[in-house]
């Protein structure tokens, strides 16, 4: 069983999980959620965990958004989604991405993608901690993701 040592000095056992390639886009937040995702990504890498963050949407099965969607990023997110192959799912992490949070719609921002699109993982928080993000991904994988 893989251990995650980075967040908990005593280590945290992880269930055996399926491989998942995630493409992350920071679509207009403060990067707080991005920082916590970076921590998670480092921990997963260190533990040789099969959940990975990948540098291109072409090999990803999950598009994970953080931040409220700015009008400038909307077409970028759309292009990334179109570039993803096969079965793909959308995840939103953090209050901004879930429903806009403190950054609701205005002339430059469309708001949270979670309020407009069908998402499979929606995790509020400002920002949610890495262990919470991981728990949400694991929950999805062990329930819906296996179907």
């Amino acid at each position: 069983m893989a251990q995650l040592n980075l967040f908990w000095p005593e280590g945290m056992p992880l269930p055996r999980l399926e491989a998942l390639d995630i493409f992350h886009i920071e679509s207009g937040g403060c990067t707080g959620c991005g920082l916590e995702l970076a921590s998670l990504s480092r921990a997963l890498l260190a533990g040789s965990h099969p959940i990975r963050f990948v540098p291109t949407p072409r090999q990803a099965g999950m598009l994970l958004l953080t931040g409220s969607l700015t009008v400038g990023m909307a077409p970028v997110v759309e292009l990334a989604w179109q570039a993803m192959p096969g079965a793909r799912v959308l995840a939103v992490v953090g209050d901004c991405a879930v429903d806009g949070g403190l950054f609701g719609g205005n002339y430059a921002v469309l708001g949270g993608v979670g309020a407009r699109a069908r998402t499979r993982v929606a995790l509020p928080g400002c920002p949610p901690a890495p262990d919470e993000i991981l728990a949400a991904l694991v929950r999805w994988q062990t329930t819906e993701g296996k179907r």
């Binding site: 990067t31 400038g72 990023m73 990334a80």
Partner: protein, 466 residues
């Protein structure tokens, strides 16, 4: 010569904001003429729709020159201060106020906003181009010829989005054109009309890597505007939290840069230390990232446990040794992404990046080493537990300016309060100067190194775009 210009500014009409003077147009033009030969650094330029304000630093004292906006706009500062270029274009995008003699090319507005000049009193609705404004390569990129490659705004990383067009006639980058606005959330429009407490929530979320700096600068501006004294305990807590933030942000950058530079040992140690710091922050303030810790004035007495500090100090010494070991990260990134002292002065870059430029040639090795130094200094500061002294407000007549040292350089906030609400606000983040200096910093770099160079720079598009 600097003293000359400063004296000229001080002869302007005083305002409710300490250190801000309103100049007649002739005096503004005379100021521009004298700035050519003076060393007065420009730290920011913004507008409130009625006037344009230029923030200078004379020694350690901030000095703001303002000029009324006429139907033709205002005379541009960019011919004498290159760093004003981005700000002039932003003022034009947001207010529709042109800088005569400066550029009117859009900086933030990529053509997708549903209104033109959103901050102006009568902002006109526009259809908003669904495809956005066509991205036209600038003359520098066209001249470079060869291959043109894009970088960003979605690279699968964890940074705020922006786009670069890179001209590579051969193996090295010769032309760089940044395209900003992807991270623009319209913060100035959002803050208008808010009570300071609500505004502070947004301010804390300008940029997570410098949230404490933004909160402290905003709190100081507010304290000068409203005339409320800042208690000693709050000042001391701000200093300590600022040190915690500096350590965390520098460690994050070291972890990123080491991973990209292929130094696994440095990367693992920096990441481990970072997680410990985040854990300490959670124990002290209830949050891993230090949002909402300064306004209302921090009442926490920040005291990191001696054992936790001792561990971090030991790890910092080891990280320093690992960084400098033969074939370590220092050797791997030597000569990459040079930000010289001349470039720093030209674009008004201060803080840790400018300090690195003083150390040596200002390459990535110097920059990461400067960050390591600052981690050490911040750890000593946490160990010393300084007592802050209460800050007496200057002004207290509804307008204030405040600053704080952030991990990437000084952060400025200015605000005007009317009837208990924010009437106008501006924030100056060091990232705007860094973006403008990118063509020089990336010049000659290999395309594969762009990510690495950007990671070590501490550039935050969310701070630059607001």
């Amino acid at each position: 010569m600097s003293a000359d210009v400063a004296a000229l500014i001080r002869r302007g009409a005083p305002t409710p904001c300490a250190g801000r003077f309103v100049l007649e147009i002739e005096a503004w033009q005379a100021m521009i003429a004298r700035l050519r030969a003076a060393e007065l650094p420009l730290l920011g330029l913004w507008s409130d729709g009625v006037q344009v304000h230029a923030l200078f630093r004379q020694g350690q004292t901030p000095l703001v020159a303002s000029v009324g906006v006429s139907s033709e706009g205002y005379p541009a500062l960019s011919p004498v201060r290159a760093g004003a270029r981005g700000a002039e274009r932003i003022i034009h995008d947001l207010w529709g106020i042109p800088a005569t003699g400066g550029s009117r090319d859009p900086w933030l507005d990529q053509g997708r906003w549903p209104v033109a000049t959103p901050l102006a009193a009568h902002s006109a609705p526009t259809p908003g181009l669904p495809e956005g404004r066509e991205f036209i390569d600038g003359p520098a990129v066209m001249r470079a010829g060869g291959t043109v490659l894009g970088h960003g705004p979605a690279e699968g990383d964890f940074r705020a989005p922006f786009h670069l067009r890179l001209g590579l006639p051969g193996a090295g980058i010769e032309a760089v054109q940044p395209c900003m606005g992807y991270a623009h959330r319209g913060l100035a429009a959002r803050l208008r009309g808010l009570a300071p407490q609500q505004a502070a929530l947004l301010v804390a979320r300008i940029d997570a890597t410098a949230t404490v700096a933004h909160q402290r600068a905003f709190a100081r501006a507010l304290h000068h505007a409203t005339g409320t004294p800042m208690p000693a305990q709050g000042v001391a807590a701000g200093v300590m939290l600022g040190a915690m933030e500096r350590i965390a942000t520098h460690l994050d950058m070291l972890a990123q840069a080491s991973a990209m530079g292929g130094d696994g040992r440095c990367a693992t140690l920096a990441a481990t230390m970072l997680e410990q710091v985040r854990q300490i922050c959670r124990e002290l303030c209830g949050r891993r990232l230090l949002f909402d810790v300064i306004v209302p004035p921090a009442t926490v007495k920040v005291r990191v446990e001696d054992t936790q500090l001792a561990t971090l100090v030991g790890q910092h010494a080891l990280l320093h040794r690992l960084f400098w070991r033969p074939r370590g990260l220092a050797a791997r990134v030597r000569g990459k992404g040079v930000l010289s002292a001349i470039t720093a002065a030209r674009w008004g870059i201060l803080g840790c990046n400018a300090r690195a430029a003083q150390k040596g040639q200002g390459d990535m090795t110097d920059r990461l080493d400067a960050r390591l130094d600052e981690i050490g200094e911040s750890l000593s500061l946490l160990a010393a537990l300084p007592e802050g002294s209460a800050m007496a407000p200057e002004g207290g007549q509804g307008e204030g300016l405040g600053w704080a040292q952030g991990p990437a350089g000084p952060v400025w906030h200015w605000l005007r309060v009317e009837e208990g609400h924010v009437a106008a606000w501006w924030c100056g983040d060091p990232s705007l100067a860094l973006v403008q200096a990118l063509p020089t910093i990336l010049s000659g770099a290999a395309y594969e190194d762009v990510d690495l160079i950007l990671a070590a720079l501490g550039l935050s598009a969310t701070g630059a775009d607001l």
